[in-house]
Amino acid sequence: MTTQTLHPRAAEYLVQLRRAAKRLPRQRAAELQREIEAHLFEALPPEAGEADVLDVLARLGAPEQIVAAEWPTTTVPADPRGTREWAAIVLVLLGGFAVGIGWIVGLVFLWSSRAWKTWEKLLATLIVPGGLAGGLWLAFAFAAVGAQTCVGGTGIRTVCSSGPSPVVKALVIAGLVVLVLGPIATAIFLSRRGRTPAALR
């Protein structure tokens, strides 16, 4: 367990590294951060002075330089997710408008890809079934249930029930937002979480 703390200069260097490593796949960025942090703990004794720290940091190189050394191996410049993965993201979001079949094709692409973990695929499948089309359909159904209902007939005065309470109204609005924004958020999540082909090796 780590008990010693890093010199403020070294801690600042790690912050810069975290910023520079945002371009990398999340998992690799975190791993690189741990490796450099461990290097600093090894290289700097607790009594290290300012000059020692600056020397160690100079020998490590600029954070951008370290991150740049990752490029030839961990990224594929043009299309990191691959055509099939992008098709999965688009079809899971919008495929429901194509009589629902597009969404199913999207699910096939999604579940046959190695770019996402099982829990990520499950999340994308369940939020929301049918994608944006399914969300909109459910949103309309949800809104209809929450709407004011009237009962009446020939010669009888039409009686309308009072509108839903403010709590129910708030719940309906929240539900509508989740159903419509959920699939969009899921698509963004999939595009950010997808691992590069190199990272899968």
């Binding site: 010693q4 690799r28 791993e31 490796e35 461990a38 703990f41 020998r59 330089q65």
Partner: protein
Amino acid sequence: MRESVIPQLRRGVLEFCVLALLRDGERYSFQIVQALTEVEGLVTTEGTLYPLLSRLRRDGVVDTSWQESPSGPPRRYYRLTADGEAALAAFTAEWARFRASVDTLLETGAPR
């Protein structure tokens, strides 16, 4: 053009230098970095060795395990895999031939 030759050569051989360091047993990452920086002219920025170690892991030429450190964070120990041993043996043989040929050419101005 001429200035870029040495960094390119360095990049090309560095991974085999890492494999050679592991030939006699496992080492943790900081030890590897320290050993390489002791070789004159081989490493200019220590931090860029970590992406190289990451690539060697992905290529399957090294295997790693975590072990507690007496002070500081756990250490990642590296050892050669069978693929790593084979890659190192192949490079060692090729390098000897390559170096001898270039040396001869540079010294005599003619191939052997």
